[in-house]
Amino acid sequence: MADRIPSGTRDVLPDEMRELRELTERMRAVFDKAAYGEVYTPALEYERTFTRDGATPDASYRLFDGDGNMLVLRADMTVPIARLAGNRYATAELPLRFCYFAHAYRKVRPQRGQSREFLQAGVELIGAPGPEGTAEALTVLSDALEAVGLRRFRIGVGDQALFPELLDQLDVDADARQLLLTELAAGDFVGVEREVRRLKLQGAEAELLLTVPRMRGGAEILDGLTGPLAHAGTGMRALLELLPERVAERVIFDFGLVRDLGYYTAAVFEVYDPAHGLPLGSGGRYDHLLGSFGRELPAVGFALDVERVHIALAAEERERG
């Protein structure tokens, strides 16, 4: 009988590897041209690196070394690079630009076709505040996907702080706020409506909380925003004005987009392609994570799931014939 490998892991054979390599080389050329230096960090880190405040993705694989230290397999590359920037670049001139091609490890649910080990390609731009830094990261992201050969991808751009700020302005108490944000992050809009009704707000205020998470589209949704939304609209418009045309036409503004990783603070992104049912990658601003590694710096980054990009590319090419 054949020796098995753990579910959610796989072997890559030469035909696929050749295609993956070509794809990552194209991304690497884009990152390189934009002055992002490639780094590699250990797959194993001390657990405490991944349990700093700002709740990072849950590391799923823990082990002990010979001295009894708890180690984890990295759950993403953003946290190791934040550590590296804090340790090794404590006095370096800003901004710092890093890119990486590395495997990360997450837990999987059985029989869902999910990967325990997946290859990420991404960049981190450290020390560049929004909107300029955000615009640079989005441009690199879009250029990398174009270089790979995807034609129909779009980039969803949301604001992690938007909905919490709305709830603050309406004086929603902490418990109700947590329930609402949980339903929103889960994409359960029936649950959002149930919790909003429970708040017994005035008609217009309740309507606002129900409408905002469903607002998504092109630049037109930023027109005529007033009241509590005016600030968010101004921020997104400032970002839009900094984007080159080729990137701007890819963007979907999405007021309902929130990411469930604890460290995101402001702009968040997700990459979509009609040829694939799952997002190809994601990212956003994490303006406080670096602080817990010793140097308070604004930062932004994204990670693409290389295998999903490959699947989407193959599907697009099939559709094109």
Binding site: R109, R152, R154, G187, F189, G217, E249, R250, G277
Partner: protein, 217 residues
Amino acid sequence: MVEFDQSVPLRIAVPRGALFNDTLDLLERVGIDTREVRENDRKLLFRDVGIITMRPSDVPTYVAAGAADIGITGKDVLAEQTERDVHELADLGYGRCTMIVASEAGADPVADALRRLGIVKIATKYPKIATEHFLATGRQAEIVEVKGSVELAPLAGLADAIVDLTATGTTLRENNLIIREEILVCTARLIANPVADRLKASAIDALLAKIADTVEN
């Protein structure tokens, strides 16, 4: 220039079974021609109207993977498959049932088992909902998953009680079972693939608006 997808009709996952007719009636009211679907018991894919049909518990699987843009299924299915990444867009109101704990009439076997044995045996087709309910209420339970008629389990001595979905309670009564606890009221829900919910936003919003109109009237 970026290519847009808006002209392609939505692909809709429609559940066969108890929700089938109400779902087709709803789709008919929002302007989708469902005659061919009604007339074909065995056909599964109706390309012209963008409908695919399947058992209700498969709807979240197809929608999460993007094999369908949107779908209709029961809240019971969604509560049992919480790990599926789908957007839950609307409560459609029909197909109303209740997830319940039921056991044989007479002294409650659950209370008796917990008092004397410290653990209760529960048979169900919904292991996740049952596990969560007994954990949340602080009782130790051994969940036995069965695929067919759950009502048989307490009668044959496989379990002390069942967790199951009931609409009218007729089957329970016929098997001498009575409802001890209500866990969750379940109705039909409209769900969407998260990627489609962004890339086909206008088509999905238009459909939602039409559905809201028909539900109100």
